[in-house]
């Protein structure tokens, strides 16, 4: 009896649910708001709510001013953001539905490898995509609908080696990266630049995301006497490796965590994480436009400069896009795309001017302190003196 009742209830709920869902989906899409879409990782292994807040900030600012000017008329902006849980399939399906069903005028990016997968969609849907959080060298060549305004790997690497030159090491490097495209490009780049800067790569290895045992790499680095660690990996992997370096008594003098130390979770490593260098596209001492406003508006929610840099990045991307829609005077994909190409403005990450779909923003090198804050150590303007790598000493 209970079985029958539950069974019927299930059937009825499903049917009613489906009918209800079917009817409300068709009533969306008002004609006068400009729709901007984004599919991002908001749960799962990586959480980009900081970038989302930056997007929302720019859009709220525009709407508070009565909307953006599109061909002489003020139009409100609707920002539609979907959570893809870090799943590539979900991301592709969401991007397609944002472009095709929600008729988004343009798209904003997610981060990292997802931005690469998303690029092909932007080209195939002929919908402009403005993104950051992907070093500009990694932006795939496509059909011209993808715009990346972010730091360049070369600038950041150059900055790192300038800092490293002052650190007093034996200039021997342990280079370890994930085996994805960002990891591989980073490895190639650092190998190339190391020689020019007078460093030698003593040990070079790669590891798939999710690796927890680094004793092989650490053992080789100890044997080779490498005093400089360059790691480009996902955060959980770095956490495991840093603990293991400490436990196995490997004591480098200088370490940088590309990607992986760029998380506020880094502070949960406590003392072990102190002194590790991190590459940033924004820092509060940078002197970039809006830097003070980023701090005053968001430092209560995100005390850490890493998070604040992502807020600044989100604001930066969204500003580029909104300005381009106004410049195009239309929400037509082709016109907006052409207008993005002619962008000439300065926003939270600095000056934007695209060449080949890329616009490099400044790079900064920061250093983690034991209390979970970050201090700028490069470039000189705004920088403090480099401290020792106390966490791994």
């Amino acid at each position: 009896m209970i079985r029958r009742i539950v069974a019927t209830a299930l059937a009825v709920t499903t049917t009613v649910g489906l009918t209800a869902c079917g009817s409300n989906s068709s009533s969306e899409g008002s004609t006068d708001a400009v729709v901007i879409g984004a599919s991002m990782m908001l749960s799962g292994q990586t959480n980009l709510e900081t970038i989302r807040d930056g997007y929302q900030w720019a859009v709220d600012e525009a709407n508070a001013a009565g909307g953006i000017d599109v061909g002489g008329a003020k139009r409100k902006v609707t920002l539609k953001i979907l959570d893809n849980r870090g799943d590539t399939n979900t991301m592709v399906q969401q991007v397609r539905s944002l472009a095709l069903q929600d008729k988004a005028a343009a798209l904003l990016g997610s981060c990292c490898q997802q931005n690469i997968d998303m690029s092909a969609q932007a080209d195939s849907l002929k919908t402009p995509l403005v993104m950051g959080a992907l070093p500009i060298e990694l932006r795939p060549d496509g059909k011209g609908y993808v715009w990346d305004s972010f730091q360049s790997l070369v600038d950041g690497a150059g900055g790192f080696f300038q800092v490293a030159a002052t650190a007093g090491t034996n200039k021997k490097i342990l280079l370890i990266t994930n085996n994805d495209s960002q990891g591989k490009s980073t490895a190639d780049l650092y190998k190339g630049l190391a020689g020019k800067a007078g460093f030698t790569v003593a040990v070079s290895t790669d590891a798939p995301a999710g690796t927890t045992d680094y004793s092989d790499a650490i053992g080789k680095a100890k044997a080779a006497g490498a005093e400089v660690v360059i790691a480009s990996m996902t955060p959980p992997d770095c956490f495991a490796m840093w603990k293991q370096m400490k436990a196995l008594a490997y004591t480098p003098k200088l370490a940088i965590g590309l990607q992986c130390a760029q998380t506020p979770g880094w502070a949960s490593l406590g003392a072990v994480g102190a002194g590790t260098l991190v590459q940033m596209s924004w820092i509060r001492t940078s002197g970039l436009p809006k830097a003070d406003e980023v701090v005053s508006k968001y430092s209560a929610k995100y005390p850490n400069d890493n998070d604040l840099s992502s807020v600044a990045l989100g604001y930066h991307e969204a500003t580029i896009l909104l300005a381009a829609i106004t410049k195009a005077g239309s929400t037509d994909h082709e016109k907006v795309n052409a207008a993005i190409g002619q962008t000439d403005l300065s926003s939270a990450l600095g000056k934007v001017s695209f060449a080949g779909g890329k616009s490099a923003t400044p790079s900064f090198v920061g250093q983690w302190n034991a209390d979970g804050t970050i201090t700028q150590v490069w470039p000189k303007q705004g920088a403090s003196a480099l401290k020792s790598l106390s966490g791994l000493a």
Binding site: S43, G44, Q45, N47, R85, G86, N179, T205, D206, A207, P208, G210, T211, T212, D213, S215, D216, A217, I218, G219, A223, P235, P236, F239, A240, W242, K243, Q244, K246, A247, L248, A249, T263, P264, G265, S268, L269, G270, V272
Partner: protein, 287 residues
């Protein structure tokens, strides 16, 4: 190829064995692939995180409480939901555990957020040197814990009344229930025991590495790999299976580079399962 690497592989194998022990126990007794095993492991890590965070416990002190807590969650699930499905068609219990794993992920995400967490402890990044080999303390501790828990599990199964009831229910549930054994209760106790072992593995994983609510799948696969290498339902084999997996990972990283590690591990896992479904160590374990 240094001794450090071999030792590190061997010791991390202890942690893998602990993850695989619970999954193997459930499969041996209930004949069910428990797809929520990864979430049981995470449950232990998160419960310990609560105790470490709020009461300031050391993770090892929090460990028994985490084991008990996860076991208490698992017991009613088996007693009032999963056992009822065992009589149904083949894949029903496995699919139900998959459903429960999704529910558990949602619950963990809602309760704890998605940022990666780690359990801090003085031994998390400590190490010591034995005979010139550098050893990571947390893996040495988890290896010792695994050996103890494997021993306890073996003794409970072979020397106690409850253990003989479990073995009877595993061998022939119908006969066991005719002999007056409450098979439903035995099954629930088995899952609870497996959950407690999973939780212990979760606490050690949390100290040695880090965890997020969506990290269950790789943990589950580790458990399956250990079970496939070990042979199903044999406690001694599980320990050897875990060690084999740990060494396999270290050796493949050293010889082929880290990139090929997963390919080597899953190919060996697959071939071991296919050509020796009773496990590589079945005979060793029985001897």
């Amino acid at each position: 190829m240094s001794a450090d690497v071999l030792v590190a592989g061997l010791l991390s194998g202890g942690l893998y064995a602990l993850i695989g022990l619970g999954i193997s126990l459930v499969f041996g007794v209930l004949k069910v692939m428990n797809l929520m095993h990864g979430e049981l492991v995470l449950g232990g890590a998160y419960l310990a995180a609560l105790l470490v965070g709020s009461a300031g416990f050391d993770p090892l002190v929090a460990l028994p409480f985490a084991m008990l807590g996860v076991a208490l969650i698992a017991y009613p699930l088996q007693r009032y939901l999963l056992t009822g499905l065992l009589r149904a068609n083949g894949s029903a219990p496995m699919v139900a555990t998959f459903g429960l794993s999704l529910v558990a992920q949602a619950a963990l995400q809602a309760a704890f957020g998605t940022d990666p967490r780690a359990l801090s402890a003085p031994y998390a990044q400590a190490g010591f040197t034995v005979l010139g080999v550098r050893v990571q303390a947390v893996y040495a501790i988890s290896f010792a814990l695994t050996v103890v828990l494997c021993g306890v599990t073996h003794l409970v199964l072979s020397r106690t009344r409850a253990g003989s009831a479990v073995r009877a229910a595993a061998a022939d549930p119908t006969t066991a229930s005719m002999l007056g054994i409450n098979v439903g209760r035995v099954y629930a106790l088995t899952l609870a025991g497996s959950a407690a072992l999973a939780a212990a593995a979760g606490v050690m994983t949390g100290v040695a590495q880090s965890f997020t609510p969506s990290a269950g799948l790789p943990l589950l696969l580790t458990g399956f790999a250990v079970m496939a290498l070990a042979g199903i339902g044999s406690v001694g084999g599980v320990l050897l299976g875990g060690i084999t997996l740990g060494l396999l990972q270290s050796l493949s990283t050293a010889y082929f580079g880290g990139g090929w590690r997963n390919f080597v591990v899953y190919t060996v896992f697959f071939l071991a399962l296919s050509f020796r479904p009773t496990g590589l160590f079945r005979r060793v374990a029985h001897a």
